[in-house]
Assembly symmetry: C2
Homo-oligomer: 218 residues x 2
DNA sequence: GACCCGTTACTTACAGCGTAAGAAAAGAGG
DNA sequence: CCTCTTTTCTTACGCTGTAAGTAACGGGTC
């Protein structure tokens, strides 16, 4: 079998932008963003680093592709008539869950405007839904922007907090609880007592608050 | 003059964590985050790279310091009794303006929980204000988190959009306007017509919406 | 003055990075 | 068989963060 090139033929058949991005996402999920180098990614794919430059123009584009790939995995923003608030709430929840599955790409999602061709479709249908609900077009764009920004930011804080909690570093609740109780009494209290709701519930509450605000003020 | 060590004595007198961080912030503001290397920063300070490790344990800590330094520059969140909504609106506006003065650190601000000792004071006084206004403590923390996350995220999008606009790349309004008008009619329309408000006004509107939502739902 | 010592600074070195340039191999069509 | 295109590998350059060791300084004590 396999009349060999350098490695056994067929075990890596194909290679494509998609496969490169998927491997990069897997690498980053496994070992963190800092571990992603062209050489390492090449090794994961059974290929030399420079080979990757046939599927991606440079490393920055590869990072863009990672963000794009994650956003694709979130549920589409489907517009079902006048029920725009539950639709946006579902979309927000889905996007949050997807982002938390790939926490390593969150720093990337923050620094790049998520308007790759793939995400434009979601924005377009969101705009249609909100315009049908009576929003002026500009305001509709604002609502979508605000919601998306909030979801990404919230997920980033959740991920950072989780990461920091499991090592007792500054920012963890354990760290908060041992703070100088004289200088920061409320912080210490908030750090000690369970706030009574988990991250998902707190997120949902905040999203509803945001959307309610836009509903009233529009 | 200057009985010289290697460089003229006195022209760089001192050097301290603060001076290192300030120089790093200046460098990053001038040339971007990617241009920040220990060697370059050292050169800016008239010093070799390794010298910096006396004031900062490693590069990551230096980046943490950058974020801390920027947050210090925003107006403090002062609690003036029951007027919590205008107070938070002012705080949000000040933080946004400060962040936009140093757009290069925005990616850093996103990935790090902004709970350095310096920012804890702001959180504490925010908590006091909101608790006095009747919020349960956990909810008060949620409000502050949501607001801060939103401000950072919004500033990041503004900065990224501005950067991308001035080079006509994907994501710019120019790019949006030339999109396939058949597939994305609303996006194209939103991209063409001025939305009628500048970034600051849109930001203020969204902040008010968010706070109004928390007010009603609390 | 001479001595010493902690702090600050420099030098050297290493492994790894992104990627430019060009050679070599593999597959397709004649 | 040869030739052309696409894919892959090789080599090389300048840069990075930082570990390790060394030298110079400033200030205290005799």
């Amino acid at each position: 079998m396999a009349k060999g090139h350098k490695r056994a033929r067929g075990e890596r058949a194909g290679l494509s932008r998609q496969r490169v991005l998927d491997a990069a996402l897997a690498l980053v999920d496994r070992d963190g963003l800092a571990a992603l180098s062209m050489r390492r990614l090449g090794a994961d794919l059974g290929v030399e680093a420079m080979t990757l430059y046939h599927y991606v123009p440079n490393k920055d584009a590869l990072l863009d592709g990672l963000v794009e790939r994650v956003f694709e995995q979130a549920a589409p923003l489907t517009a079902d008539g006048a029920r725009w608030r539950p639709a946006l709430e579902r979309y927000a929840g889905s996007l949050r869950r997807t982002l938390l599955l790939h926490p390593a790409v969150l720093p990337l999602a923050m620094s790049r405007p998520a308007v790759t061709p793939q995400t434009l479709g979601a924005v377009e249908s969101g705009l249609r839904m909100l315009r049908d609900a009576g929003f002026p077009l500009g305001r509709a764009l604002d609502v979508l922007n605000a919601l998306t920004v909030f979801v990404i930011g919230h997920a980033a804080v959740e991920a950072a907090t989780a990461r920091v909690n499991e090592q007792g570093a500054p920012g963890s609740t354990a760290y908060l609880a041992q703070l100088d109780a004289a200088r920061f009494p409320l912080l210490v209290e908030a750090g000690q007592g369970g706030h009574g709701a988990d991250d998902a519930a707190r997120f949902d509450y905040a999203v509803r608050a945001l959307l309610a605000g836009f509903d009233g003020g529009a």
